[in-house]
Symmetry: C2
Subunit: 399 residues, 2 copies
């Protein structure tokens, strides 16, 4: 039981599904600093889809110092279920940020040299979390005094970029020495390179894809489906006292995200073992240990998450690069140098997607290098295993 | 609209999700014969898990003639959502069997030479279908006069084999020149080779895996999850007048099966197009064409299927080779020659699973050949694209 618990504690309950303690052997190369969580807000945002939001709020944190030219900035963009806590600790007893192993003084993304910014996405999954500040379906619509729910407009990865752009402008950032992030963070990094090519010197998509094709988009829709199926979802109108959130549907959605984001090696220790005291070979109600463990972890995580925000995040990802006539058209705008960090065992953005992004960057004439991450965590290696790429990142930022 | 409809008609509504008309360019090499559907029943079956079923019924069909020695038999085992209609037509206006392109007079599995048998699995998904005969949760428990529901005992792939064994015994079959099937059919073929090695001369698993590891088993559990989430499921007690079947949950489950069983090329024609009259970039309620098409096809299919049987099929697959101490132990029993037919674009039983089965057969010292299927249907090429392997199958059966 100890083995299973620790497996979950270090690689399931937390990771893709939240910020994460580094794995043993991946300890930070320097002490983790306390960071101050801040908030940036602005009025009257017109979404890329044409709707107007009276106000947008976003949580963020920084490390390092912006130089006079405003050109030593690094933007870190987060994955689907993450938030801006990419580095440092928000409190002494909190887990270090999810990329803390590569961000800090003397680390590959060296905060003695760079001014590093990480913000919470719009429609952030962690809307109920006290450390997350976001604008999305769980936010109050000032014109009704009630949560937006499904009346919140659809937003895209490009909208995430627009909010980040306004935040960076407010901080005096003129140029990004690097924009980098894993998974959905990679999508934001790529979208940045196309949207503001003159601002972006380097791009580092980890466990990314250059294309959200119909097949991937269809998978994301299936991730979201259990939420719509949960009667407690009520068409998105579940906020407020006396109403129950669609936790069962959200739990199933998070189970899909979790398994899809991992590889066989992660599941192997469960080894088709029966859940304690159960016999799945005899009774259909009895289960396997992996299934009940996944259920328990996702259920715990669901209680810190917002179901509608899950649906909006799925849509934002489905709309990746939707303003361009394909990947080549988007990348032809880039003036940056690129470092790609795909994961060898990625079952979500599989090897063919990674290879196609590399090929497209070469077609676009961009300087590009690639380092493959390895390990048993599959897609998630781009979060938990990122320290593997430390030297490659140092080299990329030195050049 | 025509393009999308025909795409669905030829490759979604029917295939993995039922029997299937051959694709253009894969027309049968000889006329499709009418086949007679028969039923075999026997009393008092003790399941591998130790439960006793008062009676077991199975539908089956045959082609060709058994020789005096009873050793020219071929057993065809079906995929997850299929039934025994592997060849021929059950009626003049019915679709040809799902492997009709390779089974018949003069075809690679030549019914002028072989006596070919295909039967409906236990706990068959198509329990409501008039052409399917099965024993499972939708069958009547004679001791209560009501459907078994979730009180039906768990059964395994090995149980499927046991029922097939009794059927073959009843037909006078002494030896199988070949046992072959795609996907779940491959699991049955492998289980046959281990259970009755002296009876099996050749094994041909298409789009198979030698191992149902924790990761794959976990995926199957996620396929089933939406059924349990549907309030109409009622713990499996939804049979009878005035009760609604859990069609929404079953639809979601079938959507997962469908997308998982296909590859990017299948989805590509949808090209992130919006559903007609909708704008997913603006409203969250609006959808993409792939998502609504998948929904429509799976929903139609759900009405011909039984939700509890889906759960029991998942469990049977999760219990693949559960009586052996691993794949090597199971295969060490085989005395057969093997032909493996993996699909290059398989996103379900991915290339690593196929490679490991091949390696395990070599370790076991078995004669084994492999031919890869290619094409845009992914896993499903083992059903819709099986004619690609026609010459390899002829050669395998000639030797």
């Amino acid at each position: 039981m100890t083995t299973r618990r620790s497996l979950l504690a270090t690689s399931l309950a937390a990771p893709l599904l939240a910020s994460l303690a580094p794995r043993p052997g991946q300890a930070q190369t320097a002490a983790t600093a306390l960071v101050e969580r801040r908030e940036y807000a602005f009025q009257a945002y017109q979404t890329r889809g044409g709707a107007t939001l009276p106000a947008v709020r976003t949580g963020y944190q920084t490390a390092g110092t912006l130089n006079g030219a405003g050109d030593n900035a690094v933007l870190i963009t987060h994955f689907f279920s993450g938030n801006g806590q990419a580095f440092g600790q928000v409190a002494a007893n909190a887990a270090p940020g999810w990329w803390d192993s590569i961000i800090g003084p003397g680390k590959p993304i060296d905060t003695d040299r760079f001014f590093v910014v990480a913000s919470d996405s719009m429609v952030n999954l962690n809307a109920p979390d006290r450390w997350t500040v976001t604008t999305g379906p769980a936010s109050t619509n000032p014109s009704t005094g009630r949560p937006w729910g499904m009346s919140f407009p659809a937003v895209s990865i490009r909208d995430f970029v627009e909010v980040q752009k306004r935040l960076l402008d407010s901080l005096g950032v003129k140029r990004l020495a690097l924009v980098a992030g894993p998974s959905m963070g990679a999508l934001q990094a790529i979208e940045w390179a196309a949207a503001y090519p003159e601002m972006v010197e380097r791009v580092m998509p980890a466990i990314g894809t250059g294309e959200m094709d119909a097949w991937l988009s269809g998978w994301l829709d299936l991730w979201a489906a259990p939420i719509r199926l949960d009667p407690a979802w009520r068409g998105g109108d579940y906020y407020g006292q006396g109403r129950e959130a669609p936790l069962r549907g959200l739990t199933e959605a998070l189970k899909l995200v979790t398994l899809h984001s991992r590889d066989r090696g992660w599941a192997a220790p469960f080894n088709r073992r029966a859940a304690e005291g159960q016999d799945p070979a005899k009774r259909l109600q009895d289960r396997f240990a992996l299934d009940t463990a996944l259920e328990a972890a996702a259920s715990a995580r669901a209680r810190q998450s917002d179901a509608n925000s899950f649906l909006y995040l799925v849509r934002a990802n489905q709309l990746f690069l939707n303003e361009y006539d394909g990947l080549d058209a988007a990348l032809s705008r880039s003036q940056a140098r690129w470092l790609l960090l795909p994961s060898q065992g990625d079952r979500l953005f599989t090897g063919d997607y990674a290879a196609e992004l590399l090929a497209a960057l070469r077609r676009a004439g961009r300087p590009v290098a690639e380092q493959r991450l390895t390990g048993e965590q599959g897609h998630l290696e781009g979060v938990t295993g990122i320290a593997q790429a430390g030297e490659a990142i140092r080299g990329f930022l030195a050049g």
